[in-house]
C-alpha cells in the first residue's frame, strides 16, 4: 500500500512540472511584458517610464531563462508572488479565501451526496414505474438549465420575494449560517440532476447481478435487497466518482461565490479574470491541478480500501 502511494506521488511530479511548463508558455510567451503592463495600468495612455516601472516591479523585465527558473521555483514551492492588478500577496489572499470557499463547497458536497443517493434509491426502488420515469425526466430537465438561472431565480424567490435569507454577503463565525443557507440550497439543487441520474444507473447495474438474485431467493424483501446489498455495492462507483473532487472543494465555486459576494477563492478567480490578473490565474490553475492530482490519488486509495477485490500492488 505504502509503496503504491509513493509510486503514485512520484508519478505526479512530471505532471506538475508539465503543468507549470504549460502555464509558463501560456502566460509568458503569448504576451510581451509591455502588453501586460498596458493591460494592467489604469491610465489610458501610459508613458514609457510608467510601463518600465510596472514591468520591473512585477519581475517581467528579466530574461526568459531567469523568468522561467523563477516561475518554476515559485510554483513548485507554492510561492506565488504578488498579484498583477492589486499588488497584494497572492498566498495571503488564498489563505484568507480558503475558509469561506471550503465551508460552502463542502456543505454542498455532503448535502448533495446524501440527497442524490436517497433520490436514486427511491428511483431504483420504484424502477419501471411512472415515479421512476418522472424522476429521470426531471433530472434531464434540471441538467438542461444553466447555472446562472438557478442562482438568479433562487436569489429572486428566496431572497427578494420570500425574504427568507440575505441576497448575499458574508460574515465569519456562527453568523455565517445565515449567509450560507441560500447558496448551499442552490448548489445542491444545481448538481442534483446529473448525479441522481448517474447514481440511479449505478444502482440499476447492480440490480442485475447474481448476488441480488441469490438474496431474493433467500427471501430478503425488496427494501432489504436495496439497502443491504445494492447500496453497498453501488457505493464503489459512487465513491470513485466523488472522491476525486474532495480536495478541490477548497477552491469553491466561481459563479456561486461571485453572485453571493462570498470572499472565497472562486470570487478571487473571477475578479482576476475581470482585471486580467495573470499572476492570480496562474497560481489558481497550478493550485487546482495539485488538488486535483491529490484527489485522483485519494480515489485509487479509497478504491482499494472499500473494495477488497482491488489489489494495488
Amino acid at each position: 500500500m505504502l509503496r503504491y502511494v509513493l509510486r503514485r506521488i512520484a508519478y505526479a511530479v512530471p505532471i506538475l512540472v508539465g503543468v507549470s511548463l504549460l502555464t509558463f508558455f501560456l502566460f509568458y510567451a503569448v504576451y510581451t511584458p509591455e502588453q501586460m503592463a498596458r493591460k494592467n495600468l489604469s491610465t489610458k495612455n501610459p508613458t514609457p517610464a510608467q510601463i518600465e516601472e510596472w514591468v520591473k516591479e512585477h519581475g517581467y523585465d528579466k530574461s526568459r531563462s531567469e523568468q522561467f527558473s523563477k516561475h518554476m521555483k515559485e510554483l513548485l514551492l507554492l510561492r506565488f508572488g504578488k498579484s498583477d492588478a492589486t499588488k497584494q500577496d497572492i498566498w495571503e489572499r488564498i489563505r484568507a479565501g480558503v475558509g469561506p470557499s471550503s465551508y460552502i463547497a463542502s456543505l454542498i458536497f455532503v448535502c448533495s451526496i446524501i440527497t442524490s443517493i436517497s433520490l436514486a434509491l427511491v428511483a431504483a426502488y420504484f424502477r419501471g414505474t411512472y415515479l421512476d420515469l418522472w424522476i429521470t425526466f426531471l433530472c434531464v430537465l434540471m441538467m438542461s438549465i444553466v447555472y446562472m438561472v438557478y442562482i438568479i431565480a433562487g436569489q429572486y424567490v428566496f431572497g427578494k420575494i420570500l425574504k427568507l435569507s440575505p441576497l448575499g454577503g458574508w460574515r465569519g463565525g456562527l453568523d455565517a449560517a445565515r449567509f450560507v443557507i441560500l447558496p448551499m440550497i442552490i448548489g445542491v439543487i444545481y448538481g442534483l440532476g446529473s448525479t441522481v441520474r448517474l447514481y440511479r444507473t449505478f444502482m440499476l447495474d447492480e440490480m442485475n447481478q447474481d448476488y441480488v438474485r441469490t438474496a431474493r431467493a433467500k427471501g430478503i424483501g425488496e427494501r432489504g435487497v436495496l439497502l443491504r446489498h445494492v447500496l453497498k455495492n453501488a457505493a464503489i462507483p459512487i465513491l470513485t466518482s466523488s472522491v476525486a473532487v474532495i480536495p478541490s472543494l477548497l477552491l469553491g465555486s466561481l459563479l456561486l461565490e461571485q453572485f453571493f459576494g462570498i470572499p472565497g477563492l472562486g470570487s478571487l478567480t473571477v475578479d482576476a479574470i475581470n482585471s486580467q490578473d495573470f499572476a492570480v490565474v496562474r497560481a489558481m490553475v497550478f493550485l487546482g491541478t495539485v488538488l486535483y492530482i491529490v484527489g485522483l490519488i485519494l480515489t485509487d486509495i479509497s478504491y482499494a480500501l472499500v473494495d477488497p477485490r482491488v489489489r494495488l500492488e
Binding site: P14, I15, G18, V19, L22, T23, L26, F27, V30, Y31, R127, G128, D132, T136, V140, L141, M143, S144, I145, V146, Y147, M148, V149, I152, Q155, Y156, K160, R197, R200, T201, L204, S248, L251, L254, L255, T269, V270, I273, N274, Q276, F278, V281, R282, M284, V285, G288, T289, L291, Y292, I293, L296
Partner: protein
C-alpha cells in the same frame, strides 16, 4: 493570432459558402448513413419514439435559424451585410425598456411612444434592442460553438484514442512513421490534460487568447478532447482482441489498415452518441464563459451575454423579466432537446447501452 482566418471568415461569400457547405455536408452524411443497415435500423427505432422526433424537430428549427442567420448579402457596396434573420426580424432601436408587445417605453416616469409599437414580440432591453431578435441571434453562436468544437475535437480524440488503445499492449508492428516517443508524448499530454480542473484551464486559456468565437471553440476543444479520447481508447482495447481483428491480421492486413478500416468503423456508433451527448455541455459552457466575460465578444449575439446584462434587472422596481426569461428559455429548450435526442439516439443505436 487568428487574423488571417478572421479575414477569410469576414468575407461575405466565404460566410455564405460555409453555411451552404455545412448544410450540404450534413444532408449528405444523413443520406449516406441511411443506406447502411445499422443506421437505417437505428432510424427506424428512433422514428417510433415520438418525444425524440419532437426534439429532433426543435433542434432542426434552431439549425434553420442559425443557417438563415449565416446567409446574407449587402444592398449596396457600402451598406452593412444583413442576414436573412436581420432582414426579417430586425426592429428599429427604441430608447429604453419596453414590455412585450407594448406601445410605450417601460419603467420611465413619462412613458414615451415606441418607434415600432406592438412589434417587439418579447419587448426591448435597456438600450432599446429587440429581445426576440437578440435571442434569435444567439442560436447561431450556440450552434457554432457546439458544432465547430465537436468537429475540431472528434478527429483529434479519435486519432489519439486509437493510438493510445493500441499502445496499451505492446504490439510488434508499430506504424513505422510513429515512433514510441510520440506515443509517450500522447500519453503524457493526455494525463496532463486530465489532471487539471476544466474550468480553471478554460479560464487561463481564454484569458490569454482573448474572447472570441474561434478562441472559445479552440479552448473548449483543448479542454474537452480528453473525455472522447479516453472513450476511444477503452473501446479500441475492447475490440483489439476480437476475432474479426485477428482474422484481418491473419489475412495480412497492415496494422494501420486494421485500425482505420476495421476497428474505427466499429467505434463510430459509440463516438457519435458521445459527441451528441457532449454537445449540450458545450452550449452550456459557452453561456457560462460569456457570462464571465471571457466567452464571445460583447457585440456578438449570445445567450450568455444576454443573461449577463439581465442579471440585475430582477432587482429593479418594477422588475424586468423578459430579457432573462427569453435568453434562458431559448438556451434551456435547445439543451433539453439535445439531451433527450442524445439519449434516444443511444437507445436506438445500441439498445444494450440503455440506462434502465
Amino acid at each position: 493570432m487568428w487574423a488571417w482566418l478572421g479575414a477569410v471568415l469576414q468575407n461575405d461569400w466565404a460566410q455564405n459558402g460555409i453555411a451552404v457547405l455545412v448544410v450540404v455536408a450534413l444532408l449528405w452524411a444523413i443520406v449516406r448513413a441511411g443506406r447502411e443497415p445499422l443506421w437505417a435500423e437505428a432510424y427506424r427505432r428512433l422514428r417510433r419514439n415520438r418525444v425524440a422526433m419532437i426534439s429532433l424537430a426543435v433542434v432542426s428549427l434552431y439549425g434553420i435559424i442559425a443557417v438563415a442567420d449565416s446567409i446574407g448579402w449587402r444592398d449596396d457596396k457600402n451598406a452593412p451585410r444583413k442576414t436573412i434573420i436581420d432582414r426579417v426580424f430586425e426592429r428599429p432601436q427604441e430608447r429604453y425598456y419596453s414590455y412585450p408587445l407594448a406601445a410605450t417605453t417601460f419603467g420611465e416616469p413619462k412613458p414615451r411612444p415606441l418607434l415600432a409599437p406592438g412589434k417587439h414580440l418579447l419587448g426591448t432591453d435597456s438600450v432599446g434592442d429587440d429581445i426576440f431578435y437578440r435571442t434569435l441571434k444567439g442560436c447561431r453562436t450556440a450552434l457554432i460553438i457546439g458544432g465547430f468544437t465537436s468537429l475540431l475535437v472528434t478527429p483529434l480524440a479519435l486519432l489519439f484514442g486509437l493510438r493510445a488503445g493500441d499502445f496499451g499492449k505492446r504490439v510488434v508492428d508499430v506504424i513505422p512513421s510513429v515512433s514510441p516517443v510520440v506515443d509517450y508524448v500522447i500519453e503524457f499530454v493526455y494525463t496532463l490534460q486530465a489532471s487539471s480542473p476544466e474550468i480553471l484551464l478554460l479560464n487561463a486559456l481564454l484569458l490569454v487568447l482573448g474572447p472570441g468565437l474561434l478562441n472559445l471553440c479552440l479552448a473548449l476543444g483543448i479542454t474537452s478532447w480528453v473525455g472522447l479520447c479516453r472513450l476511444t481508447r477503452g473501446e479500441t482495447l475492447k475490440h483489439r482482441d476480437r476475432e474479426y481483428v485477428r482474422a484481418a491480421r491473419a489475412l495480412g492486413a497492415s496494422h494501420s489498415r486494421i485500425l482505420l478500416r476495421h476497428i474505427l468503423p466499429n467505434l463510430m456508433p459509440v463516438v457519435i452518441i458521445s459527441v451528441t451527448l457532449s454537445f449540450s455541455g458545450l452550449v452550456l459552457s459557452e453561456a457560462i464563459l460569456s457570462y464571465l466575460g471571457i466567452g464571445v465578444e460583447p457585440g456578438v449575439g449570445s445567450w450568455g451575454n444576454m443573461i449577463d446584462s439581465a442579471r440585475l434587472e430582477l432587482a429593479r422596481e418594477p422588475i424586468i423579466w423578459w430579457n432573462l426569461a427569453s435568453a434562458s428559455t431559448a438556451l434551456f429548450i435547445l439543451v433539453l432537446a439535445f439531451n433527450i435526442f442524445g439519449d434516444a439516439l443511444r437507445d436506438a443505436i445500441d439498445p444494450r447501452l440503455r440506462s434502465s
